[in-house]
């Protein structure tokens, strides 16, 4: 497998330096850490938002650092949760005294490491609150659902709320509202290759796809013979819509997310069917985003996220953001 890398051991370090080199006016790296923060952090008078997790999901999460979204992002090794000391550094660097909201994706590693960081913060009298994103309906038990592309809506909307001057509790509440109304499901067409081992992260035959796969190649719902874009769109929507609890007047936001190796051309072919099915079913779409937002290295495939909106969420979704990966 050919990869555009140097030493696999240095991949995170070199990526972070590369991100800073690309946006020197917007982000900076905390020395000797894997933490990137807003250049102007801590932002006076504002609740800070931090997210993070294993690397390999770029532009998540560093690409969402900016005015109106995240204040900091913590990167672990590829697909491995970052350690508590790193998260704690991010908390310290972004807290302006108003407190810090930790946006955590629901994986046991992430939850435990962020928890420990919150305990470290508490011991230094820094206020934190957390929300746990669990939007992946491929997992039956709602408590065990994984955090996937829906996390970007949390960053955007809670970030806008914080930018507007809301308190830590209010930002947390809005973030939770987004989580409660967001559902995602994905599909993989081909696996990603782990940089350290050079091996595929999971097995998938040439003529197979996997429905409901996670962003680290975790088991999905089932393997199927390859299907067309329209068939996949139909399958995902049929599973998502019953989970959405939509009234006739409700409007939704749609995110079609590429997993890393699927061309935007194909994402748009897929989106075409999603939109026509939604129109057929009378579901009103307020906003659509198509692109690569929460990837899985060079896995091919996509995920579909639906978010049920109310007036508050609409306004915050439309609010300005300077984050390179989600400019508004």
């Amino acid at each position: 497998m050919k990869k555009l890398i140097n030493d696999p051991e240095q991949i995170i370090d070199e990526m972070l330096d590369g991100i800073v080199a690309g946006s020197p006016d917007d982000v900076r790296r905390l020395e000797d850490t894997t933490v990137l923060v807003r250049k102007d952090a801590p932002v006076e008078g504002k609740v800070a938002l931090i997210s993070g997790g294993g690397s390999g999901h770029e532009p998540a999460h560093a690409g969402y650092i900016g005015k109106g979204m995240l204040d900091g992002a913590v990167s672990g090794e590829v697909f491995t949760s970052p350690t508590p000391d790193q998260v704690f550094e991010a908390i310290k660097a972004t807290d302006s005294g108003q407190g810090v909201l930790l946006v955590i994706k629901n994986y046991s590693g992430d939850v435990m490491n962020f928890d420990m960081a919150a305990e470290l913060a508490e011991s230094e009298d820094i206020k934190t609150a957390q929300v746990i994103v669990r939007d992946d309906i491929a997992v039956d038990d709602p408590e065990s659902r994984r955090g996937v592309a829906g996390t970007i809506f949390v960053h955007k909307i809670a970030g806008a709320k914080a930018e507007a001057g809301a308190s830590l509790e209010d930002v947390q509440q809005t973030a939770q509202k987004v989580i409660d109304n967001t559902r995602t499901m994905g599909v993989a067409l081909s696996p990603c290759i782990m940089p350290t081992s050079g091996e595929p992260g999971f097995e998938l035959a040439d003529d197979e796809i996997e429905l409901g796969i996670g962003i680290h190649g975790e088991a999905g719902i089932e393997k199927r013979k390859h299907m067309t874009a329209d068939e996949i769109a139909t399958e995902l929507l049929e599973r998502l819509l019953p989970e959405m609890d939509l009234a006739d007047s409700d409007e939704i936001a749609v995110m079609v997310n590429g997993m890393g190796a699927t061309p935007e051309m194909e994402l748009n072919v897929f989106n075409r069917k999603v939109q026509s099915l939604l129109a057929e079913k009378g579901v009103k779409v307020y906003d659509t985003t198509v692109g690569n937002f929460m990837t899985s290295l060079e896995m091919a495939g996509c995920s579909l996220t639906l978010l049920k909106l109310d007036d508050e969420l609409k306004e915050l979704l439309d609010a300005p953001s300077s984050a390179p990966a989600f400019k508004k």
């Binding site: 090794e77 350690t83 994986y107 928890d115």
Partner: protein, 203 residues
Amino acid sequence: MLIGVEETIQWLKNYNDKLSEQKDYLSQLDRAIGDGDHGINMARGFQQVADSLDDDFDDVSTVLKKTATTVMSKVGGASGPLYGTAFLKMSMACKGKEVDAGVFAEMVEAALGGIKQRGKSEEGEKTMVDVWSPVLDMLREGEFDAERLKKTAEDAMQNTEDMTATKGRASYFKERSQGNLDPGAVSSYYLFAELADVIGKGA
């Protein structure tokens, strides 16, 4: 006395050797029912542990405390906080004490409590808990026996094969997680096996 500073350091260094030797095997186990990083995480972290143990230490508790902080900041994933907590609790349980068989049982009890609390996990969920828990039961039975420690941990590790995972990444595989050993249970077995070897040789 069961172990002193020297034996503890030897134990951890041997454990590091074992992990670096079995790194690919552990990751392969994790690839089957997780995300394939357990061996890499553990080997990376314990290499740092081994490198940090050349200083002078006053007692076993300080060695274990140093290990805990290194593990917490260098392993990552789910196993970092879990092993980090386990070593921290062991360190606290032997603070100011000589480590004899009774104290060692208390250390394992504290560690197991810490793992369960941090992971919100119980026995039978196909995790490292399923090795630590039977080991504690055995240690409570009285007389310490290195060979039995090793055998108990090994059997417990083997028993995870037929369990269904309900915690961690393996839980997404549900019934399909059966027929695979839990990687964290295997790395915990190595930990007790290396300790048994150090104690067995010392005696």
